[in-house]
Subunit: 194 residues, 2 copies
Amino acid sequence: MSYGDRRVEVADAAWRVIVREGLDRTSMRAIATELSSSTGVVTHYFRDKDSLTLFALERVFEKLFEDIKASVEGREGIERLEQMIFAALPFEACGTPGWQVWIAFLGYSIGRQHLVQEHRKRYDFLSKIICEELADLQIAKLIRDDVDLKLEANALIALVDGIGTGVVINPEQFSPEQQRYLVRRHIKTLLTTS
Amino acid sequence: MSYGDRRVEVADAAWRVIVREGLDRTSMRAIATELSSSTGVVTHYFRDKDSLTLFALERVFEKLFEDIKASVEGREGIERLEQMIFAALPFEACGTPGWQVWIAFLGYSIGRQHLVQEHRKRYDFLSKIICEELADLQIAKLIRDDVDLKLEANALIALVDGIGTGVVINPEQFSPEQQRYLVRRHIKTLLTTS
DNA sequence: TATAAATCACAACAGTTGTTATGCAAATAA
DNA sequence: TTATTTGCATAACAACTGTTGTGATTTATA
């Protein structure tokens, strides 16, 4: 097993502890126990806790970007945009761990400006991706000419964040069909009315 | 100064520390320092840290409910619903501290099921309020008969949560006008098309 | 005024934290 | 083989945590 793979293994153990015990209780020792090893492993693969923390956060978005890329494969037009957004939603129960870790980190970032900036960087990146997607749709005359692309990209992210938050607080808040319905209806407001 | 007022004073000091330093660094000693007093004060007004924590979280929603109540005063119809939603948005910079504290708590709740339940209780309460508002509007034939009230109430909360999250991550993400525009457009999708 | 209660300061406690150092065994390189 | 690095275990460190107890000072009550 390679060095990088082992790092991921440690980070995944951290994920599990975060979801089960909470981020502030995710100590080096707790992660080591989750790995059925000693803290020596953790300190060996990560200089300090901050870098482990950041690496674990990066994996949230890494997975998200992978899912997005996979979901748009071979799709075109509005359906392509829909699938992009769907990829970020907590459809199955397996989707919530990522959301839980993300929310834990976001809360942990309050009072830590450099971590807020990390969230912002990723937010901006996502925003850019969606914005470009919207631009393509606008050129193809599928969405109206007067829509503010940047605003609408952020609005879509906001909708997704809101749904994700709601599902973490109450898994039955939005069913998969309801999530899809809300996203589709939101997107419909951007379509050319012809 | 009454006992209750002093408790609020301690909780407000906790708020300031949370926003400035982070929830996990908000220790009894840090709160005492913020109060320019000793930990004796903190322990005197709160049995333990958990009860302080919960009290500080309650104040987030207490303020929100006050703002909502004040904002609907004397309003009717769709405008009343709009103002309700607006009251929750982080319009001015003064609106973000509450959002920051809320997000910090939500993140802190991951891995603590009883705290997630607290969030859920308040989410459900908000949902009920908005749902009743929507029901009134439906009776008044201002919104369509076929809208799922419970779903739409939750969708409005999700939109607000998403905007609030976005503004905390990047204060310039949504301008006040943009926030209002997004809410108004969302509500428009519920109106009777006549 | 005498008594009781409220308010708060201060110190000490046991436990947990991230970090660092040391050591050992296995894998790798020479 | 020998030397070196890698992978990991263990232990110790100082710093910080929530909690508890003691006591002093002020306020309210009788």
